[in-house]
Each structure stands twice: as C-alpha cells, then as structure tokens.
Amino acid sequence: MAMRHLITGQGNCAPDGASSSNPFGNLANAIFGQSSKAQSIKELPGSAVNVPTTSELGTAAPLSTIPGSENEFKQDQLPLARGADFIRGGPSHDWVESFRPPGLPEFAVPDAQLKEFEQIFNSTGPTFGPPVMDGPPQRVLSGVLRSFLASGQAGVPFQPVPVPALGLSESDKQCIRDRSCIMARHILADQPEEYIQAQVNTLLHSLDIDSNYRMKGPMHGPYPEMEEYWNQSQSAMRSGPMHNAADKWITEFGKQNNNPEEWAHSFEQQYGSNGWASEFEQHQSQMAMTGGMNMANLAAMEQSRMLAQTLASNNDPKFQVCRIPLNIEHSMEENSKFFQFVSKMSRGELIIEDNQVKQGSASQSSGWADEFQTQYNANANSWADQFVHEEMSQGADKWASEFSTEYNQGGLNENWIDEFSKMRVDDEWAEEFSGGTFGESSADPWVDEFQNQLSASKQNSGASRGVYVFSDMNPYVGHPNPMQEGQELFRKGLLSEAVLALEAEVLKNPDNAEGWRLLGVTHAENDDDQQAIAAMMRAQEADPTNLEVLLALGVSHTNELEQGEALRYLHRWLQNHPKYGGIAPPQPTDSPYGPDVIRLFNEAAQMSPEDADVHIVLGVLYNLSREYDKAIAAFKTALQLKPQDYSLWNKLGATQANSIQSADAILAYQQALDLKPNYVRAWANMGISYANQGLYEDSIRYYVRAVAMNPKADNAWQYLRISLSNASRADMIAACDSRNLDVLQKEFPL
C-alpha cells in the first residue's frame, strides 16, 4: 500500500513539481467539464487530423489522459512530498550504504542517524500541512488560469491581473508555458494563430514567465510536446528516479528499523522529550490531514511503533504508566481505527467535550494538540509540556501520580483513556515491539510490497511479453486514412509520429497485417524491440506466413537474446518460403537445432546466391551462434546485393560491434545513417560502440540524439545513464533521470 502511494504520488508529478500540477489539473477539469457537454474540438490547429469528440472517448477518459490532472487530490499528500524529497536526494546514495550491515561501526553513528531523521522530518514535515494544501500561490495561479480560460471562451483579449510573486521554479514555469500553449490551442482552435499567441503571451507575461517559447509547427503540433511531458512524468515512475528514491528510502528505513532504540534515544537527546512529544503530536495532526489514506495510516503506525517501542523498552516508571491505560491489541485494523479516531479528532470531526467524544463541526483544521489544548484550557500547558515539566521537576517515581492529578485538574480524567481503550487499540501493540521481531516482521512484507509494485509498474510500462501497449494520446484516432498517413510518416523518417498513425490504423483494422508489420518495423527502427515483437506477433496472427514478419520476429528475438524463439521464427521463414520451402522438413518443430537450420540456409544460399534475404537470415543465424566472422561475411554479401538497405548496414555494424570491432561498426552505422538520418536504432548503436571503446563522452552525444528522437527508447536512456556516470558527469544524471531532453541536448550537442 505504502509503496503504491509513494510511487504513484511520485510518478504523477515529480518532474514537474507539485505546485504547478494542481492548478493545471483544475484548469483541465474546467476545460473538460465544459467541453464534454456538447462541444467537440473538430479540427486541430494546422493539421488535417480529426480529434475524437470528448463524448466519443467517454466523459471520464479525457480527464485521466491530461497530464497534470491525474488525481490531483493525491498530489498534495504525503507520498508526493516524500517522493519528491527522495528524487532530490537522487542517486548519490550508493551501494555502500545498502550493503553494509547496520551493525558495523561506521554505520551506527548516532549523529548520522539523527541527521537522517531530521532530514526526513524536515522535508516531510512542512509539506504535509495545510499551508501547502491550500497554499496561496496555487490559488492565485489557479485563479489566473481560470480567468485566462474564461477570456478565451468569451473571445476577448485576456486582461492580465497583477499577481504577487509566486516563486515558481524554472521547471514550473516551463511546464506552465508549454501546457498553456497546448491548452490554448485546444480551447481556441477556431481562433487565428496570432490571437492564440497573444493570449498565451499575455498570460505568461502576467505570471512573469519568459515567453520566448516557440509555438510548434503544425505537424509536430502540440502532441509531441504533450507526449514529452507525459513521458517525463511516466518515466519517473518507471526507471531511474524511482530506484534511486527507493534506494534512499530503503537505506533510511533500514537504519531506523534496525536501531529503533538508538533512533529514539538520539532524537530525544536532541530535542528533549518535550520536542519528542510535540513532534509526535504534530506528526499526528499532519498525518491526519492526509486522512483516510493508507499511506497515512502506515506512516502513522510507523510513528506509533517507534513510540510504543520507546515506551516499552524504557523501564522508567513514567513510561510504564502509559502501558496500563493503553489497552491495546495487536492488529492492523484496530490500529487504524485508533488513527481514524485521532485523525477525526484533529480534523475537528470529533471533539472531546466533557470527556465525551462528540461530532464536531469538521471545519476546524487545527491539529490534535490544539484541540486538546483548547478543550482543557484550565491547564495552560499542553499535555506534552506538562509531561516534560513533570519529568524535569519531579522525581520520576512521583511522576505517575502527578500525572494523573494534573490530568484531573485539567479536566481530563480516565474517560479520556477509556476512549482509547474503547477504540480497542491495545497493549500488545506496545508489547510486540519490545520483542526483537520488529525488524524482520515488518521489513519483509514491506519489501514484498515494494517488489510487487515494481513488477506492476514494469508491466504498466509495457514490459509484459507480447502484449502491445498503445499510446495514451493518439491524435490520429479518427483520421480518415491513418495507414496512408503512417506510411508517409515512416517514409519521412518521423518514426514516433508514424507509430501513432499506425496504431490508429490497427485500432481501426485489427486484422491489417501490413499495418501491424509496419508498426513493428517502425518500433524496431525506433529501438524498441519489445513493442516490435508485440506488433509483429499480431501481424503474424493476421498473416501467419508473411516472410518479412517472420524475419523481423527472428531479428527482434535475437536482439532480446532469446535464441530459442529467434531460431523458431527463422526456421519458419524457410519453411514458408515458396522457393526454399522444399528444403526444410515441412513439419513444425518447436525447438529447431541451430546448426541444422544454418545448414538448411546454406543450401538455400547455394540454390540462389543472388537472394540477399537468405544471406540476411544467415547473418542473423550466425549472430545467434556467435560465429561473428561468418555473420559479418553473410551481411557483407547481402549488402553487395542490396547496398541501399540501411537496416542491413546497421545489422553489419551491430555484428561488428558485438565482436569487438567497434571502430568498423561505427563506419557501418554511418552508412545506415546517411541513408536514413532518423534511424534511432543506429544512433543508439553508435553510442554503444563508443561506450564499449571507453569513449563515454562521445557515446553520450549519440545516446542523447537517440532519446531525443524517441523519448521512449528505454535502453538508450539506461545506457545514457551509465555513460554519464562513467564520464564523471554525475551533474547530468538528474536530468537523465527526469528525462529532461532540453538540458541534455544543450549540454551534449552532436
């Protein structure tokens, strides 16, 4: 549970920053709330593409597909704050931390732990609370955006309102700039270009944002832009940042977990028990703010566990007294009841009056502590102060009686305690933690949880085998002839656009084998073999004997190092070939034997030495058997027959690279890129060849080029990250993790 929220919270908005997303969510709501009624945006600016009306998509769909609007409720809450914090913490925590057993001396320095805790506390503390939730900047921003929207709909020039300094970060600004551009184009689709520009400029100016953005040209329109940001926010969930964030979290968790007593001890030393108690209640109220969420419950429980353990492990009578009244039972649900109670109290839904719990007016936002203080005003000091005061001034043994006396004087009596026991929050709760099982018992499920989340998020990102993952936003859906459009885009080398058009085609005609095949080819050229395989499998379903499809599947499986599958498809290629089919035994084999298949293809090559395709398949087969010299020879033969085949040049290069002839490989890739400048795969392979030669600085430029052309090229992103760290460019790893192409392209021009 906890991790899910941690991850989603983080994924939602980590790259953009929390403050900007929310107003945009509101804006998006406003727009779609209105447009979903009747309006439809028929035509997008500058393109002949029909966008589906919102009603076609269903009223709920557009909301969830607009970046920034996603679950704005969650964004203000704890997980986000945590996630963002950990992203900032970044990758600097290495290996060493997590490997070293907590018992080692270097590790157990109380100071360090204290700092860890402080860090957590400081960074989470302020972000929980009301100031951020209803923070003025957001309200202001939201207001401005709404008035912008209103003026847009009324068709009048937008009147800038003076706004106070909002303290927007650069990324916020960038985000606002780009998104308002996109939004404006949607809302004002029927208006002239200059008008849109003017409107957006005015808005940006009023927000003190540099308006030197470019309105993108018609074809590349708002969508790539939008997609880019969408990808950014998605990617945070998928890869780097999450890992790093989680690393750090885990490290810290581990530390606290393994030395809870020390933790409590050092914290107490620092702040005194006064601080401890007030921190705790502050935490409670903050947590209560996030009310109802499991994360809050878990976090609160974590706190309470620490509290309980400290209580249990401390033999001081003043603590013992706490164990008796807290008639607590060990159970998750019971615990959460307790916290619901506290949480309700802090939200003002429940008020303790005359020692009775009553329903309150719910609007009071002051925390539990305030509530407490107000109700029991006779006591000028809060419970916590009292607590400490007693501890300081009285002998410890007198403390218990003093405590109850004070309670009664202050208008408190045992009923208060009874309330707690009625909630059936219980004593084993405390006892559990006096035993040493805490670490294992809670850490393991936690790790499992994390693991599940990790694999779940992997699947979401399309890693699940053979299932084609469609893009979320596709402007080509509804296009009259997406197939033709896709072919055209592919021919122009606009691979990512072509993917969208072809996806629209296969959504329309799921049995269009050629559509699926071209989609697969496009993915392969875009350096995404997983999607290529998924598309090709659909193509093969529709047309089981298509030779190009079979070859492509063989190649993609080879790239994924899946020898068995690769061999099967290449064998099938031969079986289904009109000319060579006779050579191969016709019965289907599930696991053909590599050398046999190679022998059959050599026969075929002797039959017709001028058939480039046979040599290509042979080259792939020799790659599988790692006979690279033969593979290189086969590809070179094929190239003599088909010198214009850029993918063949790339195959030659990749084979050379895998057999450590990286310098030759680069020449071959160069040929491929001369023939097809937007060949993402060849760009990525270039980067690999430089990296494998230890030329990391050079490799970075090529990887950046590859990911700039296809921001979804996960492999290239991963390799880029490795090269950055090898080239001692740790300063750019954050940009890589957040997939900030602007920064990377500026830093590493090609």
Binding site: S98, F99, D247, L454, E560, A657, I660, N692, N715
Partner: protein, 122 residues
C-alpha cells in the same frame, strides 16, 4: 559459454571478447577482482550455471573458480541481464532478494553495470 541456453551467457561471451580490448583492460585494471556468477534460468539456486569473470586476469570462463572468488553472486538469468544492462539497480536487486551475495562486501560494491559491454542491436 557454448552450449548454454542462458541469455546471460551471450552477454558474458561478449564480455569475454571485450576483455581483449583496451576498454576491457581498463575495466579489469580498475576493478581487479574475481567475481563468480551463479546464474539460474528461473529460480535462484535451481539448475545454476556458473561463470567466472576474472577481472584480475581479464578473463571470462565457464565453471566454478578454482580458489576463492572475491565475491559470488547468485541471480536468475533475466535479473542478471537487467542489472548488466542498467535496467535494474544492483542495490534494489539485492534488497529485493534478486541477488544473493557471498564474499567480500566491498568487492561486491564494485559490481555495477559499468563493467559490462553493451550488446548492439541488429
């Protein structure tokens, strides 16, 4: 590496070749440790194949190390590949139990995606 159906074997074969290059030698010089990898097709400990990446001598061989490797890693085929290609962070993998480690912790820390060559795509 021949005769292995593991995906990892292909990467390790590439690494074997890579060790002969200047970049490979640099890596060996930088790390200077002997790693043994016990790689299982599906489940750690089941049907493991053993490989040794000797970054003292700059060799990759199949079969257990004669002597004591600086660190021994056990993982599944796909997890090894994820780690070697930078898909998965070794720390995370360790915490998840996707890697089991025997031997020196400080040696294990030097095991990163950086030491592997990257496979190029056809």
């Amino acid at each position: 590496m021949d005769g292995s159906s593991l995906k990892s074997a292909q990467l390790l074969e590439q690494m074997r070749l890579h060790m002969a290059t200047d970049a490979g030698k640099d890596i060996a010089k930088k790390v200077g440790l002997v790693y043994q990898f016990n790689i299982a097709p599906k489940k750690i400990g089941v049907d493991e194949e053993i490989f040794v990446v000797d970054l003292k001598k700059g060799e990759v061989t199949k079969g257990p190390y004669e002597g004591k490797p600086d660190a021994t890693f056990s993982f599944t085929d796909s997890d090894f590949l994820s780690i070697a290609t930078g898909k998965m962070n070794p720390q995370i993998a360790f915490i998840r139990g996707a890697i089991k480690i025997k031997g020196s912790i400080s040696a294990a820390q030097k095991f990163t995606p950086d030491i592997f060559p990257k496979p190029s795509k056809l």
